[in-house]
């Protein structure tokens, strides 16, 4: 009995000394979409500077901001990655917990693609067709004032120009940021093309959202889990199916899968970068300014991330699938982030 109380006591002592220590390692949380880029920067940063390699957790954008906003101090993360902009409610929560000065850094774009196996034909879709194929309820008349349950079983039911194949789309579950962005950019984009639905946005936002963001649950859309690699593998095995995932996975697997053309634009590096491909979003990270002087290496990490070598058009993040910002935007971000400019909503 004495033995184990000694062991317990030592464990507690070791634990509390760990707590008392100042942290000498940057802690980063947040989006799984930004994760591959942030980790690449962190690794380079650890190798080329005297600082320790930052520890990065992939918690999702929402989860990351929750941890980030929990307070100031070594217990809380210094930086959070996000595949969407911080929300007003999150800024407020941050402020309530004493996290007042936040610096926003936009790092680039990520395109979301609807891809199929290279064994099948490349298809041309519009956002309206994507919406009609995947929505739970679709308009029963031309302007969308009447609704019905989605009756479409085949792509060719929606438009004769589309392939005569069963609608089968593999995509991420609702917890994923990719799904959020897909729903917002592709589905809502197509949904808005109906006059009556667009008018509904002003009158009844809740109903509008439920309609435009509602994905069908009759088996045409399959939630394939958060693992995009798995979706790619399933597409290769099943040439009739389509998958929804981030551009970086298309880039890495471009020998086996191809991105569908949406509204006449192919999901290529150039098109997403120029903003022509519509289903794309910006990626960010947020810095806690209060930690900048306390945790060693924060300034240098931000500098490393915003260097041309990393997020520039020839940088190593591009090899990882990041789509860079325009030259002027990069310059602006570089100066504002290095000065830790406060966030303006």
């Amino acid at each position: 009995m004495i033995k184990q109380s000694v062991i317990l006591a030592t464990a507690v002592v070791i634990g509390t000394t760990g707590l008392a220590q100042a942290r000498d390692q940057i802690r980063i949380v947040g989006s799984s979409t930004v994760f591959p880029f942030a980790t690449a920067v962190a690794e380079q940063f650890g190798k080329t500077t005297k600082f320790k390699t930052p520890v990065i957790e992939s918690t999702g954008s929402g989860g990351g901001l929750k941890l980030f906003c929990a307070g100031v101090g070594v217990k809380h993360p210094d930086i959070t990655n996000a595949s969407r902009r911080i929300k007003m409610s999150e800024v407020k929560r941050c402020a309530k917990n004493g996290v007042k000065d936040i610096t926003e850094v936009k790092v680039g774009f990520d395109g979301i693609v609807l891809a199929n196996s290279k064994k099948a034909k490349k298809v041309q879709l519009t956002r309206k067709q994507i919406f009609l194929a995947l929505a739970k309820k679709v308009p029963a008349n031309a302007d969308g004032s009447k609704l019905k349950d989605n009756p479409y079983k085949m792509w060719s039911d929606i438009d004769p120009s589309l392939p005569k194949a069963k609608i089968e789309v593999l995509g991420p579950p609702p917890t994923s940021g990719t799904r959020d962005a897909f729903v917002e950019l592709a589905m809502e984009g197509g949904c808005k093309t109906f006059k009556a639905i667009k008018a509904m946005k002003k009158k009844n936002k809740k109903k509008y959202k439920a309609l435009c963001h509602g994905i069908r649950e009759d088996g045409a859309f399959v939630e394939a889990g958060e693992n995009d690699n798995l979706i790619v593998q399933k597409l290769v095995a099943n040439p009739g199916a389509f998958g929804v995932f981030g551009y970086s996975f298309l880039d890495q697997n471009s020998d086996s899968v191809q991105g569908s053309i949406v509204n006449g634009v192919e999901p290529t590096f150039e098109n997403i970068s120029a903003g022509k491909y519509k289903i794309s979003r910006s990626l960010f990270f947020y810095i806690k300014k209060a930690h900048a002087g306390v945790i060693p290496g924060m300034k240098e990490y931000v500098r490393a991330f915003t260097s041309e070598k990393a997020f520039g058009p020839e940088g190593y993040l591009v090899d990882k699938g990041l789509i860079p910002l325009s030259d002027t935007d990069r310059k602006k971000i570089r100066t504002s982030s290095r000065a830790f400019a406060p966030l303006s909503m």
Partner: protein, 424 residues
């Protein structure tokens, strides 16, 4: 009785009984075959995917280390050696190997044959052996992950994938010249995690697993054994001990993620222990393993025949002496087996670690139980989720390594049981 007396009905009955006996045996064999088949399928698919990850492609280059750059004025100091641009030497050598690459664009894609780790490798080589300065050396440069996959035949060049036709031709040229070599992948065993598949290794995760297991066993073993001894040997049988027993059995069945939530709420938020540390991971897993050890321990203690206790008491031993000198040593193999099986389960666990921040990208090898660390199954999960194609085989390889650990642990449990077990 003679055979004639056996009626047809009795014969038929006997026949039926034998037949059902045979069927019963066959069912058993089928069950075992299905279980074994599933195991073989798992290991087979992992091995077929993963074996190639144990090799890594290298490009053998003749690298000149000019004395003028590395040791200006004939002096050698570490500072200069660190600042030198080693990439340029590798690139120059690559250009002499494949002449005629003129445009900037082509040169860039030529340089992509090499991994960023090659530069670091050359730098370390020179730092460790300054005599090489001024010489022309043969250097095995790590090839980039795409080239590695190309050489292994997992992808093909010029099909719109990551490797262009030109790059494919260059690699073919190098192969024909015998400049491409596949060697044992030491990086996989000696490095921490990396975003470059050719540099990524499991040593960081293995250390994390060892540190976590250390804390887990250190906490759960003494506590579990003490609890088992008290409950089995000393506690009075009443409603309270029944209640405790039911709860321990319940605890053993609690989904592991719940322990992670507990760890987050209690150890991180309340006690303020560091995030991602093996200390917290170990405590959480210890709580998870504790019921297994208590149950196994009680079973082992209960299997010691009462005659041993009675004899000891008869010789005048106190109850504590009876337990410590006689019952516990005899029950020990059983308790150890339970502990090892519990620890093996904890080794393969990821869910509870998700909540306490051990599912993270960590490059530095952890050295103590308060350093940020990750564990083997988490490493597998992270690699499975990475977009780079070369991580597919590494995921399978890491799985094989984890399985090896588990098999070893279970083997130790079996051997110990066989060696020390006593039957009455």
């Amino acid at each position: 009785m003679t055979e004639n007396n056996t009626t047809d009905a009795a014969l038929r009955l006997r026949h039926k009984r034998y037949a059902s006996e045979r069927r019963f045996n066959i069912y058993g064999i089928i069950s075992i075959a299905v279980a074994l088949g599933a195991l073989c399928l798992l290991i087979g698919s992992m091995a077929s995917k993963g074996w190639s990850a144990f090799q890594q492609t290298y490009i053998i280059l003749e690298v000149e280390l000019p004395r003028d750059d590395l040791a200006p004025q004939g002096k050698i100091d570490a500072e200069t050696l660190r600042d030198v641009n080693y990439v340029s030497y590798l690139r120059k050598s690559l250009r002499t190997e494949i002449p005629g690459v003129k445009s900037r664009r082509d040169q860039r894609s030529l340089y992509k044959l090499l991994s960023s780790g090659a530069t670091l490798g050359l730098q370390n080589l020179v730092l460790n052996d300054t005599k090489l300065i001024g010489q022309k050396i043969k250097f095995a440069a790590v090839a980039s992950d795409d080239i590695d996959q190309l050489v292994k035949g997992n992808i093909s060049a010029g099909k719109g994938g990551k490797v262009s036709k030109k790059q494919g031709d260059w690699v073919k040229k190098l192969t024909d010249a015998g400049k491409i070599e596949k060697r044992f992948n030491t990086n996989l065993f000696s490095n921490g995690d990396s975003r470059e598949p050719e540099l990524a290794g499991i040593w960081g995760a293995t250390m994390g697993s060892l540190l976590t297991m250390f804390v887990t066993v250190l906490l759960s073993f003494p506590l579990g054994v003490a609890a088992a001894i008290y409950l089995e040997e000393f506690a009075r049988k009443n409603r309270w001990t029944d209640l405790i027993e039911v709860n321990i059995n319940n605890l053993a069945a609690v989904p592991s993620i719940v322990f992670g939530l507990l760890g987050l709420a209690v150890f991180l938020s309340f006690f303020g222990l560091p995030r991602s540390a093996p200390l917290v991971g170990g405590i959480v897993l210890a709580l998870m393993t504790l019921p297994t050890i208590i149950i196994a321990g009680r079973a082992a203690l209960g299997a010691v025949p009462p005659s041993i206790r009675e004899a000891a008491i008869g010789m005048g031993a106190s109850p504590m002496q009876v337990v410590l000198h006689h019952v516990l040593p005899l029950a020990f193999p059983g308790i150890l087996t339970g502990t090892i099986i519990g620890a093996a389960r904890a080794l393969g666990e990821t869910a509870p670690l998700l909540m306490i921040g051990m599912v993270a990208f960590i490059v530095d090898i952890p050295g103590s139980i308060t350093d940020a660390a990750t564990v083997l199954p988490v490493q597998i999960y992270l690699w499975a989720d990475s977009p780079e194609r070369a991580f597919v085989e590494r995921t399978a390889a890491a799985t094989l390594i984890l399985l090896t650990f588990l098999i070893l642990m279970n083997l130790v449990a079996v051997i110990m049981r066989k060696k020390f077990e006593r039957r009455w």
